[in-house]
Amino acid sequence: MKAGDPTGSAALTVSDVSKSFAGRPVLSDVSLSVSSGEVHALVGENGCGKSTLIKVLSGYHEPDGGEVRVAGLPLSLGSAKSSYQLGCRFVHQDLGLIDESSVIDNILMNTGFPTRLGTIRTGAARRTVAEDLQRAGLSIKPDVEVGSLSPAEKTGVAVAKALRPDPDSEAKLLVLDEPTATLPEGEVTRLLEMIRTVTANGIGVIYVTHRLGEVFDVADNVTVLRNGYKVATEKVSALTRPELINLMIGHELEEISQEREAIHLTHGEPTLKVGGIAGGPIKDISFTVRAGEVVGIAGITGSGAESLLSTIFGGAPRAAGSVEVNGAQVRAERPDRAMAAGMAYMPPDRKTAGGMLELSARENLTIGSLGPFSSPFWLRQASEKREVKGWFKDLNVQPPTGAENQLGTFSGGNQQKVLFAKWLRLKPSVFLLDEPTQGVDIGAKALLHRQLLAAGEEGMAIVVSSTDMDELVALCERVIVIRDGLIVADLRREEVSLSSISRNALGTQAGGSV
């Protein structure tokens, strides 16, 4: 292989790749090429085939036809080993980490452990992993279990793992499938920074995202897929955001900003009262949410914002304080009681806490309450199927006839829609949502937001915790900002803005608007 020439030479060429699942085409003659040192964004609606294309590159799926070359050498299709040896590295949508294992074990999984006489050299392993983590800008201990990390930290570990140098096979192409879906602003910036470093070393990058802002931030070129067809590859500098959206969905989109202004929510009685709760990073948090209110929770990683809703609901332990729904106290760590009191909670992590990926979409959607179609001795599946079909239609879940398929076979965004329906159908009086629109495309995001606001109009109290500040600004009339386990700002109406949220979250100008 010839060295040098960091840009220009092709890191990856994909020619006419097709793939179908049971006769349903998911990729149709897709071609694309990525030069060394280029960041190539891959965008498109949920279920358009982005992850499938990436799994073809990683050798997980064998395509029905087509050719893939990495740095000029042909990939032996369907072989994960060939993909790795040719220099492809991946951060998959579900990250591909093992929650039960330590960071060390996860990072060294591909390249193997340093050994002496067949024995693992624990010290050396810890040192090299510490280096890898540092390179990825992470300050976590190598020994901790991956399951205990925040989504942002998990993404970091997956990136560190992908970029770990391997003397036997030099990295040529780094592929990131929605790495920022649950990352807060600061960490997105850091990740993009890291990507720039990677490309400076002559590695080509494929970057999948639904956050179009990032496309304009980091990508050189962008390829748009729609229904498995390539619509276009364009230079990012020659595109505007509306043009890009038009390419993705085929028509103009009224962007989601300020949907709340369309609806005037009237606030009712206090529905949720959180009194001095503590647990984990949360030190002492109290607030009240009224019926019909849509409240946002913001905060950087480690502030306590990411575990606040789980603690309120009873998913995470609560060390102190009280939670009251409609005047009734809810016990700590009792999701069943919380639900009986009228709360619902959509967890941030589909794989570990949100979804049962081996069960069908139908079974996932209805598990929260089988009441409407069952007595203790009979679950009437016909009426269950009817309800599920309705939700598939309402939320435009793709494929529309897939209710009996395993949840794991749905695209990431469509899984998210199914789980959204799972909770919304319970018509809770308090709806807590952690990263509700992660991995959801912009059209679907607007749809989910409208559903939420409509629920709010009917008197549901809604609390949304999101690392996507645009989402908070668009959706919430009130944003509570958490820092170091405490509330540092309770922004209302016109105070809610990107700048006020991030200023308070970072604490650069303390006490601004408390």
């Binding site: 793939k19 179908s20 699942f21 049971a22 006769g23 349903r24 799994k55 990683s58 997980y60 799926h61 064998e62 029905d64 369907g78 994960a80 080993k81 790795y84 991946f90 998959h92 591909g96 980490l97 093992i98 999984m109 591909n110 609901f313 998913g315 999701p335 069943d336 919380a338 639900m339 009986a340 909670y345 967890p347 570990t352 806490a353 949100g354 979804g355 049962m356 990926l357 081996e358 069960l359 069908s360 079974e363 598990i367 929260g368 089988l370 069952s374 203790p376 001795f377 009979w378 679950l379 599946q381 494929p399 006839t401 897939g402 009996e404 398929n405 395993q406 794991g408 076979t409 799972k422």
Partner: protein
């Protein structure tokens, strides 16, 4: 449930194909013995106990827990129900009820250790098995009890109906009940949910510990019923139980590759038991070498599972996973004992069957 189209899929029905193959092969070799009604009846009742045990462990497995105490439990039940009648003069029905209650009690204790003391089900029930064996020795003094002689007692399982011994009918009734519970009652759905992803189930408001506990009580009770049936069918023995443990698990896991791949399911388990039994019986007509049976059992198990796993993997790789199979969805990863294939080359949680090995129920019963 309606199936849109006829499916000749080897993966879901491989067991039935193998079964047909056995019948054709052995039928051709030994037509007069093998293709007789007597032979059908013989196989049906011989394997009923093993099938009952396979069903007993189904609920814990679906829930993500192992019950390894069934071998000792079934043995204790057979001995206990005999001793109660012969030595203590307890009438038949109360003796059976007491025995089943003891089985359920074992389940309650298993559940307590797993749910409340947070011991893994593997360890808890393994330890329990040893304790049960000790209890049996205390009860029997290590002397094989005299069998109950009344014909009502032996007739309980040996009377024939349509040529089949009653035991086979009991098995069918048990299977139908369990099938209904797992497939058509809310509790079955909850149990599969807990087995699939404990944390997601807990956050969906399910009392995870409760379902684990219930499933262990059910397996304890069914196991002691199987023990009662054994005592009536063959008389008590001090040691038969442990030999049934492995076949029960083999049947349940093999069954999880059938009909509803990736899920422990009732009819898959029953089919698995009888496919193996048919093969064993056929071999017995051809040769009297005893060890051939064991070899056959082992090979059949390994071959059948690897075949199903291979089919599944090939399907995933070629992407011919069915999109719309109507009733039950095939799974995307290799089920049962196969290792899942992850996009990253890392192992993944495969079907619910693999899930059984991976998720320990989280400790929160009320």
């Amino acid at each position: 449930m309606s199936r849109g189209k006829i499916n000749f899929g080897f993966d879901r029905f491989s067991g039935l194909y193998v079964w047909a193959l056995f019948i054709i092969v052995f039928g051709a070799l030994r037509p007069d013995q093998f293709l007789s009604m007597d032979n059908v009846h013989l196989i049906a009742s011989q394997q009923a106990i093993a099938a009952m045990l396979g069903l007993a462990i189904l609920m814990p497995l679906a829930c993500g827990a192992f019950d390894l105490s069934i071998g000792a439990n079934v043995n204790l039940a057979a001995v206990l129900v005999t001793i109660l009648q012969v030595r203590d003069g307890v009438p038949m029905v109360p003796a059976i009820l007491i025995t089943v209650a003891v089985g359920a009690l074992i389940g309650i204790i298993n559940g307590f250790i797993i749910v409340k003391l947070h011991v893994s089900s593997f360890i808890a029930t393994l330890g329990m098995a040893s304790i049960i064996t000790a209890a049996q020795t205390i009860v029997t003094n290590n002397l094989e009890p005299t069998p109950v002689l009344s014909t009502t007692w032996t007739g309980l399982t040996q009377n024939t109906i349509f040529g089949f011994q009653a035991i086979f009918l009991y098995l069918l009734v048990l299977a139908v009940i369990l099938w209904w519970v797992l497939e058509h009652m809310p509790i079955g759905r909850y149990i599969y949910a807990v087995g699939s992803n404990t944390e997601a189930a807990r956050l969906s408001g399910l009392r995870v510990g409760k379902y684990t506990w219930i499933s262990l009580i059910v397996s304890g009770a069914i196991t002691s019923l199987a023990g009662v049936a054994y005592a009536s069918l063959s008389g008590p023995s001090l040691t038969f139980g442990q030999a049934l443990l492995l076949p029960a698990y083999a049947a349940a896991f093999l069954g999880s590759t059938q009909l509803k791949p990736g899920r422990f399911n009732v009819w898959g388990t029953v089919i698995a038991v009888y496919v193996l039994a048919t093969g064993v019986q056929g071999i017995q007509y051809i040769t009297s070498v005893q060890w051939l049976n064991d070899v056959f059992n082992g090979c059949a198990l390994i071959l059948a599972v690897s075949f199903a796993v291979w089919r599944q993997r090939a399907k995933v790789e070629r992407g011919t996973i069915e999109e719309d199979s109507g009733g039950d969805s095939p799974i995307s990863h290799a089920p049962g004992l196969g290792d899942g294939k992850h996009p990253d080359g890392a192992p993944s949680v495969g079907g619910t069957a693999v899930g059984a090995i991976r998720h320990e129920p989280s400790p929160d019963a009320g």
